[in-house]
């Protein structure tokens, strides 16, 4: 038996989490370094997965398959296709930056508050989330996926509720209240989605007699497993609801702004760039593969919701006064694009959506982490408290601008490629929806530039006049992300090469072909 590479990719951060948590209380720095090293080792493993993966080979590769709960036919079944590989790599890539950016976020306060911030716990929880996210991407057994999809809520809950921004406009007490509100809201929303999905998972087992993704999909494809139309639709809805909450799709989105606002910037990145991707990924993998007919049936509604998300998220981002909330609503808009791409059912749309997941992860990380650095300097999240930062901290402002430009999908940066692919992919089949979604790019420019103008330009406010520029550690966090944004914007081929075959498979699962150009069709 070959080395279980996929298990190792998830097990390493899990063991790292335990080890980090076990570091004695006084050895804070050691815990940080341990977590960083573990995340880097995980990255190395993920890169190995990436290298060993053959885009033109079998659909699921590096598979592992062991019996687990025999009575219920649950198998410990892992395997990655091109889409999963890309997302595993993204996750493993972002975690070291998140750890590095949050280096001091969980330091105990020297004076004042008596809250004890367990540094060890913070980094252990991050690694735990990584382990669970990675295994969710790798699972090809519905039950295994479900377990980790739900379990990651627990460390996330503690990360949101336990660690907030150091300084808060209304004092520590209010901050703690708002934080726990956000954490509970996050938990309840996602639990509700998860419970409905659990019902659907059980229903699926009753109907199909198996939890194995490939078995069910094969059985459906060759006709041995017949599902009544209404059954399929109900099951689809059960799965989709959970993913739509996680993604999040309008109108199930309201937990995200609260969670991202209250969490520290690195945790906010963890939520939006990593954890939420499981939702959109699962739509692509489970909804479309298990329930192709129901997916097609639901497409019009999903697309409308997605386009509402795009415009609504962008409009709300324009109206925000809080930097982190603004980024959260921008993310909602971007998730609308991803979901639109998934359900456009064209190769451009789905490749674009997958690419979008990767690029959005990187671009949001860049913007949000810089925003976090900014907020930690001034101790306020309110846009109105800033002004003229460009003059005192040009590097900070410059990186913030690049993050913003990536958010508004400037050509030359990675998100443009994915956004355009999603738009084209949608347009070829649903022109009206494509055109409405295009308004999103104007609104994206509006909220990004307004944010930049209000915080970075204009006369220097006295409160920011002594603001230090980015430190070496912070540059180390941002610079690689920016390099990646530019590289993937100019040369996205390495990613599209991996993703394309998987997308082709998914499209054939739902029996869809790309529409032909009008000129050709006329001939």
């Amino acid at each position: 038996m070959s080395f279980p590479l996929l298990t190792a990719t998830a097990a390493l951060p899990a063991l790292g989490a335990v080890a980090t948590a076990a570091v004695p209380a006084a050895q804070r720095t050691a815990a940080k370094w341990l977590a960083l090293l573990v995340s880097l080792a995980t990255l190395a493993l993920a890169v190995t997965v990436l290298v060993r993966f053959d885009p033109d080979g079998e659909r699921y590769q590096l598979t592992e398959n062991h019996a687990w709960i025999r009575d219920f036919g649950v198998r410990y079944e892992l395997g990655v296709d091109g889409i999963a590989v890309a997302l595993v790599a993204l996750t493993a890539l972002l975690i070291p930056f998140i750890i590095l950016a949050g280096w001091h976020d969980a330091d105990p306060l020297e004076t004042g508050s008596r809250r004890w911030r367990p540094t060890q716990g913070f980094f252990a929880l991050i690694l735990a989330v990584e382990a669970m996210v990675v295994i969710s991407f790798e699972a090809t057994d519905v039950f295994v996926f479900y377990i980790f999809f739900e379990a990651m809520l627990i460390p996330m809950y503690f990360l949101i509720g336990g660690f907030g921004d150091r300084a808060h406009a209304h004092g520590e007490e209010t901050a703690a209240t708002q934080r726990s509100y956000a954490a509970v809201k996050f938990l309840l929303y996602n639990l509700a989605g998860g419970l409905i999905m659990l019902a659907a998972v059980i229903g699926l087992y009753v109907v199909a007699g198996s939890f194995s993704l490939s078995e069910i999909a094969d059985a459906r494809a060759n006709g041995t497993l017949h599902m009544a139309t209404s059954t399929e639709r109900w099951l689809f809805l059960g799965f989709f609801f959970a993913f739509a909450v996680k993604a999040p799709l309008w109108p199930l989105h309201t937990w995200l702004p609260n969670a991202m606002q209250e969490a520290t910037a690195p945790v906010a990145v963890l939520i939006t760039a990593v954890v939420d991707k499981v939702g959109t990924f699962a739509m692509l993998r489970f909804c479309l593969q298990l329930f192709p007919e129901a997916s097609k049936w639901a497409t019009p509604v999903v697309l409308v919701l997605a386009v509402i998300s795009i415009i609504y998220g962008a409009l709300l981002a324009v109206g925000q006064r809080d930097i982190k909330r603004l980024v959260a609503y921008a993310s909602i808009s971007h998730f609308g694009f991803i979901i639109m791409g998934v359900f456009a059912m064209t190769s451009q749309g789905q490749s674009g959506a997958t690419l979008y997941m990767v690029n959005h992860g990187i671009s949001t990380a860049a913007l949000m982490l810089v925003a976090g650095f900014l907020i930690s300097r001034r101790g306020s999240r309110l846009i109105a408290d800033y002004g003229g930062v460009q003059k005192v901290a040009p590097v900070l402002a410059g990186t913030f601008l690049i993050g913003g430009l990536a958010t508004l999908s400037l050509p030359g940066l990675a998100p443009f490629v994915s956004e355009f692919l999603v738009l084209v992919g949608t347009f070829t089949r649903y022109p009206v929806i494509g055109i409405i979604a295009t308004f999103g790019i104007v609104l994206a420019a509006l909220y990004t530039l307004v944010l930049y103008q209000r915080t970075m330009t204009g006369p220097v406010k006295p409160e920011v006049s002594a603001m230090p520029d980015l430190r070496a550690r912070e540059v180390l966090v941002v610079a690689p992300l920016i390099v990646l944004l530019i590289f993937l914007g100019v040369y996205p081929k390495p990613v599209t090469n991996i993703v394309d075959p998987a997308v082709k498979q998914t499209l054939s699962d739902v029996h869809k072909k790309d529409p032909r150009p009008e000129v050709e069709a006329a001939k």
Binding site: S347, Q390, F427, A445, P459, T496, P517, V519
Partner: protein, 654 residues
């Protein structure tokens, strides 16, 4: 030879990267890096030009394929460059004028502590603009298109500490984004219609028509209108013109390079490049001519009322680009002349802006022409170069504007029918107004009495456009002086171009023969002979100059603007377009977002929080049952037990 195309773009891109990433170490010599790389690019352009000239007229197209950019199923976007006569013309204009302006900026920005960054942005602009004109497909063009928008954003807002500059930059980017939306929809339409968006397959060549021929006219009209929207945004055409005036907040070299000579003409490039599509969509062409005609009058009227020298010139730019768009909308009759006017305009307008910059440089960055006057004695070189540019733009016989503008007016008449008369008339009227406002600028700046001596301190509510040279807000009386050589030499070169360019292009139809293989040409049938039209143009010119002389030459210019007629007041406010935008878009948008924020909180979130509150209320009710009386608990226990017994008995009985 085609391998030189990529270095042509790479040189300024490298400069931008080095200057922006290099940090403070490069502060001292950084600007020379920018200048040198810009000249390198120009030299490469000249080499390529010589190479093209050496080939036969039909074979002057070079392509360089670099790599496959976005390959996804049927969607294939490559990074491929295409150099033909049209893009060659632009390359020379961009790198030539660009290099001169780089040089000029060395002097102009000498006292700015962020000069290195300024040159980084300028180089970035050059790279993006070159990418725009050299791209071989619309998606790559789009990259350059937004790239120049970014460079323009950065440069307009270069003095970021001034809120007005930051706002103007944001406005420019946003209005351009509306246009960009048009371009992206056009590309999507092309992809669904043709399955491709590369120039070759879609537009075809002279010998073999492209896929355009197979598409329905409705589709082509839609594509063409979307391209027009894009062009309106980038070229500041009505209804997306509002950003150009505000863009004058940027340093003057930026106004000269980006907002006069090159970037704003990208829309004309787009229309001429997509000629095959427009030719097959007559309705869209009509829309193009209407936009052009309206804008040329709009810009001219605005230009008449502005007292800010740069804003007057901005109005003029808008108007001149209106001419080009009008010509481009005429189809093969006008394509060549649109580009010819674009090139000559590049010379004289850049020269005029540089002259304006030189004046401001000598006048403590004052921009109000009512505080100028009599400057010809103090700045002889600026006066002469500006004067030549002035003569060129109004179309003084023999200078370049005369040749290019006259051709456009002729072409407008040659459109034929009522349309031809209306368009030609508009173009003629525009020529008269051009003569008027340019004479006004000239007289107010260089002639008349010296009004800057007793200049009142500018009120803080109206800060001058340029930062007052770091004088700490104190306004001292200006001492007009000529600018240093590094600034005057580019002005002289541009003045030479604006004098001889038109004649050089027109004699022997050199320009026409050069471009015809790409754009095609058609003579049309003019209802009037060329001589009559030229005569009419001359009459318009004289009338315009005469009115301006009567108003600003004979009488002294008041230092404070008179109230003016209703039209003047409207024109000072850009014909109320901004007010319209403000009321409809800004206010409306604010209300929309604010109410959505409220709704998101109260409705979407409210439903969820309401459910939570409902459960909370229910448990509150249930809590009351626990009243603390042990005996009531006992009752419920007995009751429960009795119920259980009863149920058991009942089950037995059944």
């Amino acid at each position: 030879m085609e391998n030189l195309i990529a270095p042509l773009i790479a040189a300024p891109l490298l400069g931008a990267a080095v200057l922006l990433v290099g940090g403070r170490r490069l502060d001292r010599a950084g600007h020379w890096i920018g200048v040198v790389l810009s000249f390198v690019s120009f030299a490469l352009g000249l080499v390529l030009f010589a190479d093209l000239l050496g080939k036969g007229a039909g074979h002057r197209t070079l392509t360089q394929h670099l790599f496959s950019w976005i390959p996804v199923a049927g969607f294939q976007a490559d990074v491929t460059f295409r150099l033909d006569q049209l893009s060659m013309t632009f390359v020379l204009l961009i790198t030539g004028v660009g290099s001169l302006i780089h040089l000029y900026s060395v002097g102009y920005m000498a006292h700015d502590e962020r000069r290195r960054r300024f040159f980084g942005y300028l180089n970035l602009f050059l790279a993006a603009m070159l990418l725009l004109v050299l791209a071989d497909n619309y998606l790559l063009l789009y990259v350059g298109w937004e790239g120049v928008g970014l460079a323009s954003y950065l440069l307009i807002g270069f003095w970021q500490h001034k809120p007005s500059a930051a706002t103007a930059a944001k406005k420019a980017f946003l209005v351009n984004r509306v246009g960009d939306m048009g371009l992206s929809i056009a590309i999507m339409l092309m992809f669904t219609t043709f399955g491709s968006f590369a120039f070759g397959p879609v537009l075809g060549t002279h010998e073999e028509p492209g896929l355009v021929g197979d598409a329905s006219e409705g589709r082509l009209t839609a594509i063409a209108l979307m391209l027009l929207l894009a062009a309106c945004g980038k070229s500041a055409q009505v209804p997306l013109q509002s950003w150009l005036g505000d863009a004058m907040e940027g340093p003057t070299p930026v106004s000269a390079l980006i907002h006069a000579a090159t970037m704003v003409t990208a829309g004309v490039y787009l229309i001429v490049r997509s000629g095959a599509i427009f030719n097959a969509a007559p309705d869209a062409q009509l829309a193009v001519t209407v936009v052009g005609a309206v804008t040329l009058l709009f810009g001219a009227i605005v230009g008449c009322a502005k007292d800010d020298i740069k804003k007057a010139l901005a109005g003029s730019t808008m108007s001149q680009i209106g001419y080009m768009v009008l010509a481009a909308g005429l189809g093969p009759i006008g394509y060549v002349f649109a580009i010819m006017h674009l090139v000559t305009h590049g010379f004289f307008k850049a020269g005029l802006f540089l002259g304006a910059g030189s004046v401001m440089h000598g006048m403590n960055d004052e921009v109000d022409m009512r505080r100028y006057g009599g400057l010809r004695k103090y700045m002889p070189v600026t006066f002469i170069t500006f004067g030549l540019g002035y003569l060129a733009i109004i179309g003084f016989p023999g200078l370049s504007g005369f040749f290019s503008k006259d051709k456009i007016i002729e072409a407008a008449f040659a459109k034929g029918g009522t349309e031809g008369w209306i368009l030609g008339g508009a173009a003629l009227l525009g020529a008269a107004i051009t003569a008027f406002y340019m004479t006004r600028v000239m007289l107010m700046t260089f002639f008349g009495e010296e009004r800057w001596r007793d200049a009142p301190t500018p009120s803080p509510a109206e800060p001058s456009v340029e930062p007052a040279a770091e004088t700490g807000g104190e306004h001292t009386e200006p001492h007009p002086h000529e600018s240093p050589k590094v600034m005057t030499i580019p002005m002289i070169v541009l003045a030479v171009g604006s004098v001889f360019g038109g004649a050089f292009f027109s004699i022997g139809d050199r320009f026409l023969n050069w471009l015809e293989p790409v754009t095609g040409h058609d003579h049309g049938d003019a209802p009037l002979s060329a001589g009559v039209i030229t005569g009419a143009t001359m009459v318009c010119l004289v009338v315009g100059v005469a009115i301006a002389w009567a108003q600003y030459g004979r009488k002294p210019v008041p230092a404070v603007a008179p109230r003016g007629s209703l039209l003047t007041r409207a024109a000072r406010r850009d014909l109320l377009q901004d007010d319209f935008n403000h009321v409809v878009l800004v206010r409306g948008g604010e209300h929309l977002t604010r109410s959505l924020v409220y709704l998101d909180h109260s409705l979407v979130d409210g439903v969820v929080n309401g459910t939570a509150a409902g459960f909370g209320g229910l448990s509150g009710r249930l809590r009351r049952l626990q009243n603390g009386f042990a005996r009531s608990y006992a009752v419920s226990m007995f009751g429960g037990a009795a119920l259980l017994v009863a149920a058991t008995l009942l089950m037995r009985a059944v």
